[in-house]
Point group: C2
Chain length 353, copies 2
């Protein structure tokens, strides 16, 4: 096992001392980069890109060639797991992800099985191995998965939704069926993330994109409980190295104490939360990741530096901060603004360490 | 001045004793009702409906004929004020509201003026008068407006948005320009709501639909501050009767103390907040309105009653609760489920009073 040349992401996630605050960007390999769009064009489609380990490796490395980022994140899709369950993931042009066979009746739910990652998600596991090899121990590789509830949203709605009418109808009228889906999803996510760790992922993140659209009681019962199970099932070290994990519920600012109590190493914050307040609430138990408004990257050099500085100042001195946006980067972001941000975080965070 | 036959909404907003918890439903006059759709068809278009006081009166009264609601709410559109400013409101089929002339340059912003409600919003003021007359002092009439920031979102984006890229670019790069828009909007909203009160509205509500998409610091500077100004400028009584007001920031659960500190009488809650927790945080200062997940109305009689009961139990005994959904009712709601909800609130809330 070689030592990482830059391990400050791992150390920050474990709340250990670092020389400056590490930074990576959610969706850092993406459509705002012309080189990403060129690779995607060669791949023919988004799924052609995501399901081919060579292409996935290529785009994962692209932002690292441009910017001094402190981590790589596996390029993949959030919906690989339900696709491996046989739901038939596809992308309708301009409409986002959809499933050919969403879960619309009890029989479909009863037939659902936990996929074996090495069999049905081998392209992801291969991509993790290839990316690790290509990274050459420069920076850590983050693996990821959607949360059990967020996966269930897509599996039951059949695609994106602005009111979650189908899954919430099930949640209120047939909670037993939704719990069955979530139980399978939780076991599938554990197997998937552990397979990523075994293949070389050095940290993992669970994206609970839609838990924040639930009521307080429903969030606790249908999302948080399964996040807790996932965290409880993950490898915490591999090959003698710690493998920290991060839980991110978008819109989850009201539940930070509960998210921290899942046992995770770090909590992701969206931009609506003041990171200083969040630190006072849960910073003695977990590291915090976030949380610049992605829209700041539409402004200018001076504003980007000033707003990054505010996030760093709000967090304050000491350990346990990983800088990120509060949501995935917009496709309309000028790439050079990402470089301004990364450099600003490194430079402006030194006095706090 | 005649006495209201049913004034429990007003009393609950003022945290006075009531025999049972009052209930009304955001967007209660709307597309889930076949009679609404019939009137809209006769009116020819949504704006033909909203801008005609006869039609507006007709649809405002429709839900009251079906259900034992404790209030009427003016049927109107959230964007009447910017339309009166000359931005040219229109509805593209299936796309929601749009403006012909969004604020896209400094000159357009410098030219913006506070409209005189009696001149350019006479159709709303006439509708308030007609509805009051038609209600015959049965239940109170609630007037409303969008918040300064929410109006600015539409004025600057030119329509709905999922990332608020245009207004947030202005917010971060040219905050002075956005403040100028918000200052005018705040003065326009005050004049508009006071004109509604003078015409007969017995309570008013400010809808801050998009403030919750801001960062903590930006919410305070660009939405909350202008909500505070609006509340400070409103009539608190008219013709010797109190006129309570309600502020609702969707996704504002992190800022409840700050919203209560605007000086409003009541705070609206979306469904992500536990209303019992909200009461402990701010219930000694303001009444609370909410907050059932609208998706509960897709379920069944037993579930609707059980979930309504949970909201009532979470609030607990005592004064200061107005029952509502945590967001506008969905067009896909079976109308009879609204009747089940209204009756359940009246019946199940008695032990708490």
């Amino acid at each position: 096992m070689q030592m990482l040349k830059n391990d400050i992401l791992i150390r920050a996630l474990l709340r250990q001392p670092v020389p400056h605050t590490p930074v990576w960007i959610m969706r850092q390999a993406g459509r705002y980069l012309p080189e990403y769009n060129a690779t995607r064009k060669r791949a023919g489609s988004f799924l052609g890109l995501a399901k081919n380990p060579d292409f996935a490796t290529e785009v994962t490395l692209q932002p690292l060639a441009r910017f001094g980022l402190d981590a790589a994140i596996l390029f993949s899709d959030i919906l690989t797991v339900p696709d491996a369950m046989g739901l038939g993931l596809y992308f309708a042009e301009g409409e986002g992800p959809k499933f050919e066979r969403p879960l619309r009746d009890e029989a479909a739910i009863r037939a659902l099985r936990v996929p074996e990652p090495r069999e049905s998600l081998g392209y992801v596991i291969d991509a993790v191995r290839q990316i690790r090899s290509a990274l050459g121990n420069s920076v850590p590789l983050i693996g990821f998965s959607g949360s059990p509830y967020t996966l269930a949203c897509y599996m039951i709605e059949g695609g994106g939704s602005d009111d979650f009418r189908t899954i919430k109808s099930m949640l209120y009228a047939r909670p037993d069926l939704l719990h069955q889906v979530l139980d399978i999803n939780a076991r599938a996510v554990i197997a998937y993330l552990n397979a990523q760790i075994e293949a070389g992922a050095q940290a993992v993140m669970v994206f609970d994109t839609w838990g924040g659209a639930l009521s307080d009681a429903a969030y606790r019962e249908f999302s948080l409980e399964y996040l807790r199970r996932v965290i409880g099932g993950l490898h915490r070290e591999w090959n003698g190295e710690p493998v920290p994990n991060i839980v991110f519920t978008k819109g989850g600012g009201l539940w930070l104490e509960d998210i921290a109590a899942t046992g995770c190493d770090a909590v992701g914050l969206d931009w609506t939360v003041n990171i200083g307040t969040a630190r006072r609430r849960i910073g003695s138990r977990v590291a915090l990741q976030g949380n610049l408004d992605p829209a700041v990257l539409f402004s200018d050099r001076a504003t980007i530096r000033a707003e990054a500085g505010k996030v760093l100042r709000n967090f304050g001195s000491g350990n346990g901060h990983v800088f990120n946006l509060g949501h995935g980067i917009s496709q309309f972001t000028p790439p050079e603004h990402v470089g301004i941000l990364v450099d600003a975080v490194h430079e402006l965070s030194r006095p706090y360490h």
